[in-house]
Structures are given as C-alpha cells and as structure tokens.
Symmetry: C2
Subunit: 187 residues, 2 copies
DNA sequence: CTTTTTCGTTGACTTCGATCAAGAAAACAA
DNA sequence: TTGTTTTCTTGATCGAAGTCAACGAAAAAG
C-alpha cells in the first residue's frame, strides 16, 4: 500500500521492519456504494485508510441523518471515539461510492505499539492530527455562522463541493437544505 | 508532584527512570488571579498540569470574549493546537484564581519522547484523551440545543456551576447571558 | 425514450436566540 | 455602614434558521 506508506513517511518514517509488520496487519476491503462499514451499536475495532472512495460519518437523531464528517481517499476512517473507549458507536459510516479501504484492527495495532517505538510515535502523531481536525471543526461551530462556514468551504474549495449532494453539505454545515439553498442565493 | 504522578499511573505507569527525567523538566509556576498564562499571538510552547486553580481558555471575536474551555486542577492546560502546529495562538488563557501550574516545555517533551518509550506512549494517550474531550464538545454543538447543553451540565453537576459566573457559563454554552437566564427560568 | 423518484428552490409563517434597554440583586470597596 | 460596580433578570423587538408546502429540475429506473 504505497499511498499509506507515503502518508506515514510524511508524518514519521517507519523502519523497514516496522513497516513490514504493519503491512502484515492491513486487511484490504472492497466496499460497494451505500455499504455501511460501521453501524450504530457496534464497537469500532478498526482504523481504516481510505484508498479510494468517499465515506460519510453520520448520526441519526429523531429520524434525521446528521453528518459529522466526510472521509476521502488519503484519510483515516474510523469512529475514533468508539475505537479508543470501546463503547458502542452512536454513528454510522457509509461508503458513498465504490471504495477500497485498508483496515488495521485494534488488537493488532496495540501489539504493534508495543513492538515498534516508531509505530507508537505514529500513533501519537495520528491522534494529534485527529485532534486538530475536530478542534478546527469545533471552532467553526463556536465562532462562525452557517453562512461563514459555507464561505470557508467555498474558499478551501474542498472536494465536498463537487462530490457531495447539497442536502448532505447542509447537514454537514449544521443547517437544513432549504437554508443552505437560501444562503447560496444571498451571494 | 504526586497528583501528576497519580494521573500518569492511571493512564500508563512510567518507569522510575522516566519519571525522574520527566520531573526534572517540570517548571512550577504560581500565578495570581487574572494573570494570563498565554496571550493571543504567542506560540504556546508548553503543556501545563493544573495543581490548583481554574483557567479559562477564550477567544476574542469582535470585542467579545468567547470561552472555549475551562481547565480545573487535575487537567492539562495548553493551547494544544498552537503547541502542536507551532502557529501563534488565537486564544488567551487566563487564571481565574490564584493557581499553581507545572509546565513542561515542548523542546523538553520532544526529548523525553525520544528517550523513553513509556513517555511516548503517555503522549499518545494524552493526545487521545484531548481528542475525546473536543469530540464530545463538538457533538454537543452539533446535536444539542443550548437548553440541552445546559441540562447536560446540570446533570454532570460540573464544578463549572459552582465556580464560574453565569455570564461565562453562557459564553461556554454558546449563548448570550440573557438567553441563559431565560433558559434557567424555563425549567 | 418515458416514467418515477430524488433533489433543489421559493414562499408564507413560526420559533428561538440576539439585541437594546431598564432595573433588581449581588459582590466589592470605601 | 454606604456607595459603586458587576452580574443577573425581565420586557419589547428584530432577525436568521426552521417548518410546511408547492413546484420545477435533475437523476435514476424502467
């Protein structure tokens, strides 16, 4: 899995031995459109690297899907909270397109942490990066209006805008589809 | 610093040698009420353990203080984003009471990570915990109304309720003081 | 291609938090 | 104590997002 190796190398290069042990633990999965790779109530016992595809991470409140995050190729997809705490997931993860993902299971990862200090470090760096991601998202809810959040999206011209239907974008921004439509009309 | 050692032991016990090296790097600071331990524009080059006291972590938007977090004795206080990325802080950290904190500086911590695998692991566990903290807070903004957020606070009967003036609570909950007053009146 | 379903827009109206303003209560200082 | 400042409450009004409903456009299914 070259893409993953490159990703790691940018964060912190693994030794050859560590990478080989790590690669042993990767489980490739091909997932078809609309498949759930995690359902509510399940424990999330893996972290997966997205090779290709897009996944959405959502929560159902009062029959309505609230999208918390999207994951694209090159991201790690997991319910990290459930993964860390062992509690059942309150969220679903759905692949929106045919996708290829590479899972590492928790039990394997914990062993790898013990066996290779450089993987332990990678684990720290990944946790730190995931922290930065949620922290930024929290900020945009604490300090910005829905309109400002939409403008931010426009500016960073994220894949979201091309790849994701508008009603899902609305959910991601924390508003109703009608409201996003009106925000766009305001220009 | 016994409290800190206990805290670590619950997460992951350090070896005696690691703890001794770690303790060497702790810098004790006594801070008086209203002192800023971090200002906007500064790089946050430390993580501090709060021995006693309360700190507030806030951002100023259009002349208004928006409180993102509170830190109590037993917590780590830092601008973790600035600490990790090296970017200047957009937030202030103020001690609301006379406080005692124990700083570890980034340059020292990075060395400790290299020297002791158990400290590296502790670093991962702390990053994971900080992740869980923001993620929970993000959830409460994504999925709950201000009223529900206030009810949550009431239930977990946090120190916040006793120790913090209501207008700061309001800011923390993401509403104006008038609104919190009305939420309380609704019961 | 036509039919059916999903998605996006628009209008009328409601709801809830923000804003502005005034006054009461509590905390603090002289 | 008294006086001053800070914090909390209450009322009136405003505004942005939600809700409900209708309709046209686009996409999917046949």
């Amino acid at each position: 899995m070259e893409a993953l190796k490159n990703y790691f190398n940018k964060l912190f290069p693994l030794t050859e031995a560590a990478w080989q042990d790590f690669e042993q633990c990767l489980v490739k999965e091909t997932v078809v459109k609309k498949d759930l790779i995690l359902e509510e109530g399940q424990k999330c016992d893996f972290i997966a690297f997205v090779g290709e595809g897009i996944c959405r991470f959502y929560y159902v409140k009062e029959g309505e899907e609230k999208i918390t995050a999207f994951f694209f190729s090159g991201d790690f997809v997991t319910n990290y909270r459930s993964f860390l705490t062992g509690q059942p997931s309150e969220h679903y993860i759905e692949c929106m397109q045919q996708s290829v993902i590479y899972k590492v299971f928790k039990k394997d990862l914990l062993q790898l942490y013990d066996q290779h200090q450089c993987i332990e470090r990678l684990g720290r760096l990944i946790a730190e990066n995931l922290y930065l991601t949620v922290a930024r998202r929290l900020d945009s809810f604490l300090y910005a209006t829905p309109e400002e959040r939409y403008q931010e999206l426009l500016q960073r011209n994220s894949k979201l805008l091309q790849e994701v239907p508008q009603y899902m974008l609305a959910s991601y921004l924390g508003v109703k589809p009608e409201t996003l439509s009106r925000i766009r009309a305001r220009k």
